[in-house]
């Protein structure tokens, strides 16, 4: 083939390929209700459950649900919010901190498009945010510990006050333990979380075990999330003190915690967020808003579930 023929051919191929690649776009319906879901976090299992539940409920309502994942890139999430605002979708659902995407939320507001939070954080630019109640989750595990100890015992707490959603959990546990005069907090630890939270918590717990050598001198470990609880469990096992009946509880019900609860060697309880319920509740809020109802609640809480040996099997099978 001569050079110029080849060049002409190449250019045509490029254009045709560009056009063909978009052929699929023609089939997207334009008339029905379209809802865009924007998240950088679709790779997280919790987000996947929420989005799938939202899609199922949305499709049952006859909506076109367009899920946009920016693979961890928050700046791209802002851009995609601007794009769907320009596109004129009927509603937008976000699963990202609203404070970080406020430029995109303003674009949606300027276009008159309602935005809903799916475990996103409360924000004046959202119609509402659907999430789990951090206070309630902490109350579940703190009362579990108090009841297990019959109101008497020495407790190690693992908290993390620099992060507001976890700080909330800590103050509730503080209040519940303070309400039982015979419960003593022997340490309130803020672990270093840069290693994921397990390793440093284990080291801190080993030091506490060394400082409290008598059997029965530690009654329980209350952790504001699962990783420190898992670290404490490892420390207790490494010290050979798993026979003392130290009660360990976490929050979040991550897969490792569920395994530990099922194994039944001290890690007794955690709290599972109902991600499927959150996704469905967001769809419900969108439907209510589109039907003209005014949603007064800036935050809608979906109940969480206490996971213990009694019900752990159903969470592991999920």
């Amino acid at each position: 083939m001569s050079r110029r023929k080849f060049q002409g051919f190449i250019s045509v191929v490029f254009i045709v390929a560009a056009l063909l690649s978009f052929g699929a776009a023609g089939i997207v319906a334009q008339d029905d209700i379209t809802v865009a879901v924007v998240t950088p976090y679709l790779a997280q299992p919790g987000t996947q459950f929420m989005v799938e539940a939202f899609q199922a409920a949305g499709e049952a309502n006859g909506w076109t649900v367009n899920v946009i994942d920016t693979a961890g890139d928050v700046a791209a999430a802002v851009s995609r919010l601007e794009d769907v605002a320009a596109q004129g979708v009927d509603a937008i659902v976000i699963n990202v901190d609203p404070a970080q995407v406020s430029v995109g939320l303003e674009a949606a507001a300027a276009a008159g498009i309602p935005v809903f939070g799916m475990d996103a954080g409360a924000d004046a630019n959202l119609v509402t945010n659907v999430t789990s109640n951090g206070y309630a989750m902490a109350a579940e595990t703190a009362t579990y510990v108090t009841d297990r100890l019959n109101g008497v015992g020495r407790i190690v707490m693992f908290t993390f006050d620099p992060y507001p959603p976890v700080q909330k959990r800590g103050i509730i546990a503080d209040a519940i333990f303070a309400n039982s005069p015979d419960i003593e907090i022997i340490d309130r630890v803020t672990p270093d979380v840069t290693d994921g939270g397990i390793a440093d918590s284990r080291a801190r717990m080993e030091a506490i075990l060394a400082a409290n050598p008598e059997a029965g001198s530690i009654s329980a470990v209350w952790a504001a999330w699962d990783q420190p609880a898992l670290g404490a469990l490892q420390a207790i096992e490494a010290a050979g003190r798993e026979g003392e009946g130290i009660v360990i509880v976490g929050i979040d019900a991550n897969p490792q915690a569920l395994d530990a609860i099922a194994a039944g060697n001290g890690f007794e309880a955690s709290v599972a967020q109902d991600f499927t319920g959150i996704g469905g509740t967001v769809a419900d809020a969108v439907a209510r808003h589109l039907a003209g109802e005014i949603i007064g609640q800036g935050v809608i809480y979906v109940p969480t579930v206490l996971v213990t040996a009694a019900n752990v099997a159903e969470f592991i099978s999920e």
Binding site: R4, G8, V13, F22, Q100
Partner: protein, 333 residues
Amino acid sequence: MNTTPSIPHPARQIGRILRRFGTLIGFFAIVLFFWSQRPDTFMTVRNWLNITQQISILGVVAFTMTVVMVMGDYDLSVGAMASLGGIAAALLFQQEMPVLTGIAVALLIGVAGGLLNGVLVSLVGITPFVATLGMLTVFSGVAFFISEGETIFGRAIPEQFSDFARGGIPLGTIGEQAVLLPNLTIVALLVLLAVWVLLEQTTFGRRLYAIGGNKEAARLGGVRLRLLRLIAFAVTGVGAAVAGLMLVSRLASANPTQGDGLMLDAIAAVFLGMTMSEEGEPHVLGTLVGVLILGVLRNGLTQLAIDSYVQQILTGAIIILAVTLSRLIRRAS
């Protein structure tokens, strides 16, 4: 390359136009396609201003990346430098330092990091790939270290700074809303102009192209290879830091990874732009077209509600297609 015969041959001229402007024609084809599919929302002033704002940050990184790529070098550390520059400024804001101090420190970090890359490449003689890959890891580690891995947001970022990304020069009103030429777009245009002048209108730029053409010949011809490479890497470094500051302003927050994604897109944009040069050299206006293609694809595909993973596949395939074709053309000629 200049084989134009004395008697113009229409077919040959068309071939030449296509060779030179095939990518640009492809870009317009993409625009026309989106326009036909979304006639009411794609080809609007507001959406185009929106696109220019979305690509402004990538643009700044890609334009300054062009400077090192002219010499045949790369800088893989630009994304990490954007993260580092941004988080350094945000940490100073958190300490209630003046906004200008934060900006100045971020820019200095950009220059210093770029010079460090330049020293490794030019004086120590490590290949740019290895040197800047190593520095990528270092910059990223420093960003994590100084921020302790945390995101800085909320009141820590002064409103004066985050309002910059929301503001712009008023162009008029459409309907009831004011239309602004976004400040971030203006920054990107200024950087574009500066890089264009530097590369196309100065002796410095011509020497960089000479190095890119043939390092040994350039050196024998009296070009101060080492110094020029040092300066070029410093320019790329400071561009990355500017982009990091723009990101902090746009997101009103900073975290130690938020610029990391810019590097691959910037290199892709420069490669797309290189397909528009007869010699296969990077030129900053070509890079602009590359950045526009990436930005328009993302905006248009999102408006068409194409699955985000399919979008990624399409974008990657189009980049590879364009660059492969351009390479085949040059091989054929």
